[in-house]
């Protein structure tokens, strides 16, 4: 399953550094907090990164550069153009490659002295324990709730630290879970939010530097755990507000009644985390709304024919600025109070970026009594693919 970059570290711990390594790590070696002893600890350390995306980029780069002897990279995704804005491990020529493999190439170029295992696989309840067992520290750089609970539970079952970081738009969180004396992810978040109550796409996006900062904090915590130096984030949740440029911290307590790490554990094996989080696979909430649709080609031919169609764009104003179909803009969230702007006697075609928000808009308007309303299937993305490639996709 894994593609490995040599050299393989042997079963025996390393007890010395080569002259090349001594020169390479000299700025560590001259610090008493690291020194030869610390650098050998780094060389003998085995760290598994879950995700090689935004958080995984600085994590991989700094841990490889620091000389962590074995790095595992778990990612099933391929590099896409929209990743390059923040996933600084990758270059433009990596677009289309498997992330774990592209990251392995980049990191082994950065430091050929370390062993890097690329696991091109999705982390699941079936493979997590097997993947984790050979590593000392697990670093969670994933982007969804089911995997976060899975990483947590597998770490607790195996007794391994879980260096946690997460981001949302311009806000980040970091801590260390899974230490015997400290709390676990379930102590902080006993239940995941239901899919309907998570922020919508209108609130998506992330400032590219943010995962760089939070991932770097995770890398620092990982190195501190390996060195056994400093004060770890165990028991503290670090909150970072990039816009206000403020760091705050909250106390995290171990919940004695935690079903995972508490005195009486009730979860003794990995479960179905998609079911636990109320989501199936990659399916987004709201995508099951069934509404009447029109395809981009049908819309184009009806517009060309001169049919009287009212185009309703339910995206956000900043998305309208990227590209638009000259529609009337009412963001989905404002629709209920701006419904009077619409004429129910005219035929309306609603659209958004991908067709999901506009499906909700059509559903809402039908319930409000609109009868002549259609959803543009696939949204602007499909319009760009099927009708007008000059409209940019984002």
């Amino acid at each position: 399953m894994a593609t490995t970059t040599q050299p393989q570290t042997g079963a025996k711990p390393a007890t010395s550094l080569t002259n090349e390594e001594i020169l390479r790590y000299s700025r560590h070696l001259i610090m008493p907090e690291v020194g030869m002893e610390g650098q050998l600890k780094l060389k003998n350390a085995k760290v598994l990164l879950i995700g090689t995306g935004g958080l995984g980029a600085p994590l991989g780069l700094y841990l490889a550069a620091a000389g962590v002897g074995r790095l595992g990279l778990v990612d099933f995704d391929v590099v896409d153009f929209t990743n390059l804005q923040r996933q600084v491990t990758f270059g433009t020529s990596d677009v289309g490659k498997f992330k774990s493999e592209a990251a392995r190439e980049r990191l082994s170029n950065l430091n050929p002295n370390i062993q890097i295992d690329a696991f091109e696989t999705k982390l699941t309840s079936d493979n997590a324990l097997e993947l984790f067992k050979d590593f000392d520290i697990i670093v969670d750089g994933t982007d969804n709730f089911p995997t976060r609970y899975l990483v947590n539970d597998a770490c607790i079952l195996l007794g391994k630290p879980n260096v946690y970081g997460s981001i949302f738009r311009f806000e980040g969180q970091a801590t260390v879970f899974g230490m015997p004396e400290g709390p676990c992810y379930r102590c902080l978040y006993p239940e995941p939010p239901p899919p309907g109550l998570v922020p919508s796409c209108a609130e998506g996006g992330v400032l590219g530097v943010l995962p760089g900062i939070v991932g770097s904090i995770q890398a620092m915590e990982t190195i501190k755990l390996i060195l056994g130096r400093g004060e770890s984030l165990v028991g503290r949740l670090l909150l970072f507000d990039a816009l206000g440029m403020k760091f705050r911290e909250l106390k995290l307590r171990k919940n004695p009644r935690c079903p995972m790490c508490g005195e009486h554990r009730t979860i003794n094996k990995l479960i179905d985390y998609y079911e636990f989080c109320g989501v199936r696979g990659e399916e987004a909430p709201g995508s099951d709304v069934q509404v009447p649709e029109i395809t981009p080609r049908q819309l184009k031919s009806r517009l060309d024919r001169g049919d009287d169609l009212f185009i309703l764009d339910v995206r956000e104003p900043h998305e309208f600025q990227i590209c638009n179909l000259k529609g009337h803009l009412i963001p989905l969230g404002e629709l209920p109070r701006r419904v009077h702007e619409l004429d129910s006697s005219r035929e309306i075609v609603a659209h958004c970026r991908s067709g999901k928000r506009s499906a909700e808009a059509v559903d809402f308007l039908r319930k409000a009594g609109f009868r002549k309303i259609l959803n543009l299937k696939g949204g602007i993305l499909a319009w760009s693919d099927e009708v007008d490639p000059s409209v940019p996709k984002y």
Binding site: G51, G53, G54, L55, G56, D77, D80, T82, N83, R86, Q87, D140, G141, T142, D143, N144, F145, R148, G165, S166, I167, F168, R169, F170, E171, Q173, L188, Y189, P190, E191, P192, P193, P195, L197, V198, P199, S200, C201, A202, E203, G204, G205, V206, P211, L237, L239, G244, R248, E249, L250, K251, L252, R253, E282, A284, P285, G286, G333, S354, K356
Partner: protein, 99 residues
């Protein structure tokens, strides 16, 4: 007594895009009720239909989790900060939920 409530990014859309709001309140519960009266849309994100704080909503008074204090009855004093800490899962934003 003035208490500041910090509104996390994911919930700002339901709070007129504000990042914080101040209320005169003697307990954490009073401050949160001030918040949800001012921003009604926030209520369903913080409370269940029978009026209990949702299990995935973490509320802190200064740096302490109110679960380990007196929960919503925890008394507040002038200048205290209440933080609502949301679960965020993002690592990279490549799959914005719902997009």
């Amino acid at each position: 007594m003035s208490v500041k409530v910090m509104i996390p990014t994911p919930l700002r859309v339901y709070a007129g895009k504000r990042d914080s709001a101040e209320f005169s309140a003697a307990t954490v519960g009073e401050a949160l009720s001030g918040l949800t009266s001012q921003f009604a849309e926030l209520r369903k994100h913080l409370y269940t239909e029978d009026g209990k704080l949702r299990a995935f909503v973490n509320v802190y008074l200064n740096d302490e989790d109110i679960r380990y204090l007196a929960k919503e009855n925890t008394p507040t004093k002038d200048g205290d900060t209440i933080s609502i800490i949301p679960s965020i899962a993002g690592g990279s934003a490549e799959t914005p939920i719902d997009f």
